[in-house]
Amino acid sequence: MKNFKTLLITTAVALTFNANAHDPSMHAKKAAKLDCSGYEKMVASGTKMDMSDPVMLAMMKKCKNKTAEHDNADGHHDTEKAGGKCGDMSDGHHDADAKTGDSKCGNMSDGHHDKKEMKCGNMDSSTKGSDSKCGN
């Protein structure tokens, strides 16, 4: 009888773990660490980014916090480095910070951005406000 109870409890515990096995938080424990260096290199190289491309938007969303953490760890405040410039890039071109290679804000509502690095701004309805540091 005791053996039967032990078996019953063991089975119940095993089934409970099984039911939770596909909770995303369970996966997170074994997940690899996010590495945004590829994205940062791409941004730094000035590769043109298509703001209507969901892959690009997903990468920006994923890496924005990582990049912000990296900047803070370096003791930099990006708006200072960029001269605190925030502009409207609604014409699709933004050259103001091309020399510093670092832009942090602006309205990129037409989906084009030729800048070296971008951290925030109004890009389109799907990302609006999601990663803006400077506002629109």
Partner: protein, 176 residues
Amino acid sequence: MKTIKILMLLGILGIIVAAGVIYSGVYPIGADVPHNKFTYWILAQARERSISRASADISVPDLSSADMLLSGGADYNDMCSSCHLKPGQNESDMTIGLYPKSPNLSLAEHEEEHGDDDETTEAQKMFWTIKHGIKASGMPAWGKTHDDDRIWAMVAFIKKLPELTEDQYQILTTRN
């Protein structure tokens, strides 16, 4: 009348032979011995026709959001990539051992296998297959543990997968 009798006799004979083969155990059931072409063709036809019929009425949501890619990417990496691979990977222990061989979803050639399907049909079939699985193929029914939203997110990610670089894949699939 005589012809019908002969056909019936042949039919019964066929059933007896098939039963004999099944019960004798001579058919190689190991995954390391492929089906003969005839058996493979029959099973492949049954699979494709069944999925087409069952998925025909599924309505496909908008699959173009970045959030869907992030959700689907993380799930794909955890649940699918060991069999269906990822960019830059050609094989894994699972793909080497699995039979029937699981399609490499990171390659565009995979899409050509369903060349006649339009975007919607392809998404419908993909959703159904992920949700319900395929018998005796190693493909599980993920619908038992994942809701439709998560499965559609996986469909959205898989449709983009052949275009992804290794860096993009890594960023989109990391779960944090």
